[in-house]
Symmetry: C2
Subunit: 121 residues, 2 copies
């Protein structure tokens, strides 16, 4: 599976942010059509006290809101000092256009999540 | 949200298939990296007796296996006389390349499914 290419993110002008351990990156129900790529550190995706996912370097999160523009379905929390690169919707569409492998990568993350959830039905 | 363009499917050489009411289109655990677009009729996505989804004209199903090449996570059943257009993996990649809106459409279907499942957690 193709990984995220940090160079193309930089070229698109994607901004970098740092968070301390324990800091919230976004809250459930927030509205913001942005996704994030973890540059370093670790992020937990949490809903009502349940940890849905641990995201490490090269991993992405927040991709749901950028796809359908709906409020955040879960919160994201830095569990150690963490640097993330933020991708907004125009940048996201540009990545889809220039790189079908990026589209497949995002789809594959979503499909994996659905399969895990199906397995727990 | 962009819908599926049947003309571009035809141009790619995607094959059409018809199924009678009650006929299986694929079974859970089948391996086959193909997705389907409903041209007419109605398809139910079923796992262990639970109906996960009803798919009508213009809707797609079977997209999970084409993304990650894993066995089918559910079965698909024609619930009335149904015509589907079959897309194989090379055709799928070609659609991603030529049309970022198609990628976004597939992602949006997956994101909607995840949100529904999250809501039932």
């Amino acid at each position: 599976m193709a990984s995220i290419d940090f160079d193309s993110l930089k070229r698109l002008g994607a901004a970098s942010h740092t968070f301390d351990a324990g800091e919230k990156i976004f809250m459930q129900e927030d509205t913001a059509a942005r996704m994030f790529v973890v540059a370093s550190g670790r992020v937990q995706i949490v809903t009502y006290g349940t940890v849905l996912e641990n995201v490490g370097p090269g991993g992405i999160f927040g991709e749901m809101a950028i796809i359908d523009d709906a409020p955040r379905s879960a919160a994201a929390l830095a569990v150690e000092p963490t640097e993330v690169v933020e991708i907004d919707r125009p940048q996201f569409l540009e990545l889809l256009r220039e790189n079908p492998e990026f589209a497949l990568h995002i789809m594959s993350i979503l499909a994996t999540r659905i399969r895990k959830m199906n397995a727990n039905l």
